[in-house]
């Protein structure tokens, strides 16, 4: 039983933090919004160079063969920077699924390529237009297509740093990759997507709090920084408490995601719900602390509000995830000795 991160994990997260701090700063956001852009090619090249897109790919596919714990730490940093590019969707969810189904697919051979993933629980797909391949789901089967073989309809959203599309497609125009028996593991894709969305939520939440803290130290009213008033302090302390009690759930969900049982699924769902609630609450507290400034486009807090709104509903609404927790709570033994429970039978079935 060890809940600590190792030095390599912390160093990798630190590398990502530095990369995003340098390449995805408020200045970068502002320039992109002025140019109506949602992609920065130089930044994406740096992300690829650093190896972040290869973390979850097996070593046999030229990847780093790292774990969901490692990648969750990177996803958190991506959230902290409100990263526009689909690092998490592509490298955290789609690429590992494609690598499992079609290891020789050309999209995996191009390190700069992104892979998009459409699913009933992810009905609007970010940056689908730039993807080298789009993974598609139909009745549990997996298909892959290039963007020119499907119909992409822009679905404009309120987040200025993401480009969203609806994807309409015909199975005749896509390549079938097989069903569940051939490894089309949509359950794992869903768990990874929900988990990494949760990890991004932790980053979104912390950035929203940090922005408000910086502002509350500077902004003076009644002759004092507003951050010295308890009403302001308590908003931000409450937001921080929510982060503190979402983080260990996210990390535990990441550590046990590979168990693939009713317990690990419930924990992923728990993480998804609370981390994005923390993000949403932190963003709203941050806007309140910023006052009218927080309601303006000029101050960046709105980016975090919008991203939290998007992520909290994609890859399973809170109701969807609550039902997965209910399945565990109401069908399995409950109590303190069940915190790290494993479903032995289910694992044996899956291994067989």
């Amino acid at each position: 039983m060890d809940f600590t991160l190792n030095d390599e994990q912390m160093m990798f997260a630190e590398t990502a933090r530095t990369l995003f701090a340098d390449s995805c700063s408020p200045d970068h956001w502002h320039r992109m919004m002025e140019a109506d852009a949602a992609w920065d090619e130089a930044r994406w090249a740096a992300i690829v160079d650093t190896g972040l897109t290869a973390m979850l790919l097996p070593e046999s596919a030229g990847g780093l063969g790292l774990s969901e714990v490692d990648f969750a730490l990177i996803a958190r940093e991506a959230g902290y920077a409100a990263l526009p590019e689909p690092l998490v969707e592509s490298a955290g969810v789609a690429a590992p699924l494609l690598a499992a189904l079609a290891p020789d697919h050309p999209a995996l051979g191009d390190p700069m390529a992104t892979i998009a993933i459409a699913h009933p629980l992810n009905p609007v797909v970010a940056h689908a237009d730039r993807a080298a391949a789009i993974l598609l789901e139909k009745d549990g089967e997996a298909f892959v297509a290039t963007p020119d073989r499907v119909t992409l309809t822009p679905a404009p959203g309120i987040d200025p740093l993401r480009r969203l599309f609806r994807v309409d497609w015909d199975a005749a125009d896509a390549t079938a990759l097989g069903g569940k028996n051939n490894g089309a593991d949509w359950a794992l894709a869903l768990d990874r997507a929900a988990l990494f969305n949760a990890a991004m939520g932790l980053g979104l939440a912390q950035r929203a709090v940090d922005l408000a803290v910086d502002y509350a130290k500077e902004r003076q009213q009644f002759g004092k920084p507003i951050g010295s008033y308890q009403a302001v302090k308590h908003h931000l302390a409450t937001a921080q408490v929510a982060i503190e009690f979402a983080r260990p759930v996210v990390m535990a969900a990441a550590a046990d995601i590979g168990r693939r049982d009713v317990h690990s699924r419930a924990r992923v769902s728990h993480a998804k719900i609370v981390a994005l609630e923390a993000a949403d609450n932190a963003a709203r507290a941050s806007i309140q602390v910023h006052g009218a400034m927080g309601y303006s486009w000029e101050v960046d807090v709105h980016l975090f509000l919008k991203r939290a709104l998007a992520l909290s509903q994609s890859w399973g609404t809170p109701a969807f995830h609550r039902a997965r927790i209910a399945e565990r709570l109401f069908t399995q033994a409950a109590g303190p000795d069940q915190l790290f429970a494993r479903d032995q039978k289910e694992r044996e079935t899956e291994n067989a």
């Binding site: 039983m1 060890d2 809940f3 600590t4 991160l5 714990v69 709090v209 803290v213 509350a216 130290k217 004092k224 920084p225 951050g227 010295s228 308890q230 302001v232 302090k233 308590h234 931000l236 302390a237 409450t238 921080q240 408490v241 503190e244 009690f245 979402a246 983080r247 260990p248 759930v249 990390m251 535990a252 990441a254 550590a255 046990d256 924990r267 728990h270 719900i273 609370v274 609550r322 927790i325 209910a326 709570l329 109401f330 409950a334 109590g335 303190p336 000795d337 069940q338 915190l339 790290f340």
Partner: protein, 381 residues
């Protein structure tokens, strides 16, 4: 990260479970704050625990413990609550003062006070607050006047849990003329010493829950001072860190309550508001989140870290989840929730009333939010 118990940890759990199955009283004991008989029954239980060396598993062996680590402590607590074992009447001693004594006490003090604490032979009350010093604890007025090898204590302490029946109390006393955080010492005194008067105070449920203590020229040896003279505030903050950070409310307490709430829901959902299911699930999530956080903290501490201001987040989280959980149970019970004696084996109503104290004691949640804002987030005072 590795969230699996080792074979040794699993064997330890089995050992605890087996011992508790053979020793936990079949019938619940009368509450330790209700009557002298209830209090003494709990003292007897502490003695039974000690007979199995389960008094305080994390303490060093030489002072009556087992020298176990924090993960083992969590496993012990999980089994303890799971078995429905009696409440720890000496929690002010074993969970709050004990760890502080181990950190700040001399060898002689540890030898004197820890073994009878672990066995329940001496049961402790806390004497933090005064009528004019609640959230502003640095405002204590009680004095300790040095007289040779002794101190003469004078003052008025209040809201002292367990003080009605306990044997000893610890509190902050200041050197006459000293101000605020300076000049305070943490001093122990027997509650039956000449000059000590204890008056019980009734809680909102009508039961005696705590007491006020008047001290009039109470003479205690300087041996009863923990740490250096004038260092009381520093030591007290360390105690408060343990209290809020880890030991006062072990997660198992809430995990057991959340499991019972889930059972209550399944039993009564046909007659209850369907929207309450989301609250039942929320209570379970809260209890698990608190447990995971404490496992994380335990791992960090075992790797050499110290408890910091994040301890304040724990206190807010458990106190709020406790109220939410019990309020949900009362909503499920509906119109019979208010009835006495309570319907069913579980006293959700009394546990709810107890939960309402959570945001007040051990430093009000308003103070905890100030600590988080100032020491974690760096906002100005």
């Amino acid at each position: 990260m590795n969230l699996s118990y080792t074979p040794e940890q699993q064997a330890f759990r089995a050992e605890v479970r087996d011992w508790l199955a053979r020793h936990v009283p079949a019938e619940p004991l009368e509450h330790f704050d209700a009557t002298r008989a209830g209090f003494e029954a709990h003292r007897q239980w502490e003695n039974t625990l000690k007979s199995g060396d389960w008094g305080m598993v994390t303490w060093p062996v030489e002072y009556g413990g087992r020298g176990l680590d924090l993960i083992q402590w969590l496993i012990f607590e999980e089994e303890y609550y799971r078995a429905g074992a009696p409440g720890r009447v000496n929690q002010n001693g074993i969970f709050l003062l004990g760890p502080t004594l181990i950190e700040f006490g001399t060898h002689e003090q540890k030898q004197r006070f820890l073994p009878p604490m672990a066995s329940g032979e001496e049961i402790w009350a806390q004497a933090w607050s005064e009528p004019q010093a609640g959230s502003d604890l640095a405002g204590v007025r009680a004095t300790a006047t040095r007289d040779g090898h002794d101190y003469i204590l004078n003052g008025h302490k209040i809201w002292s849990s367990r003080a009605v029946f306990a044997d000893w109390a610890f509190g902050l006393f200041r050197a006459p003329g000293s101000e605020r955080h300076k000049g305070m010492s943490l001093i122990f005194f027997p509650l039956d010493a000449p000059g000590v008067t204890v008056n019980p105070i009734r809680k909102i449920n009508g039961h005696v829950g705590f007491a006020e203590i008047f001290l009039e020229n109470v003479r205690v040896p300087a041996f009863n001072r923990l740490g250096e003279e004038g260092q009381g505030w520093h030591i007290c903050m360390a105690t408060a860190g343990f209290e809020r950070g880890l030991m006062l409310r072990s997660p198992a307490r809430y995990q057991v309550a959340a499991a019972k709430l889930a059972a209550l829901w399944q039993e009564r959902k046909a007659d209850a508001d369907p929207m309450l299911e989301a609250e039942v699930i929320r209570a379970h999530m809260n209890a698990e989140a608190y447990a995971l956080s404490i496992y994380q903290t335990a791992s960090r501490l075992m790797a050499g870290a110290k408890i910091g201001p994040e301890a304040s987040t724990n206190k807010i989280f458990w106190s709020e989840l406790d109220i939410h959980l019990h309020r949900t149970a009362l909503s499920i019970l509906g119109p019979v929730a208010e009835l006495l004696p309570p319907p069913g084996a579980q006293d959700w109503l009394d546990d709810y009333i107890f939960a309402l104290a959570g945001p007040i004691y051990a430093g009000s949640n308003e103070i905890q939010r100030n600590i988080i804002a100032e020491r974690m987030l760096g906002l100005p005072r």
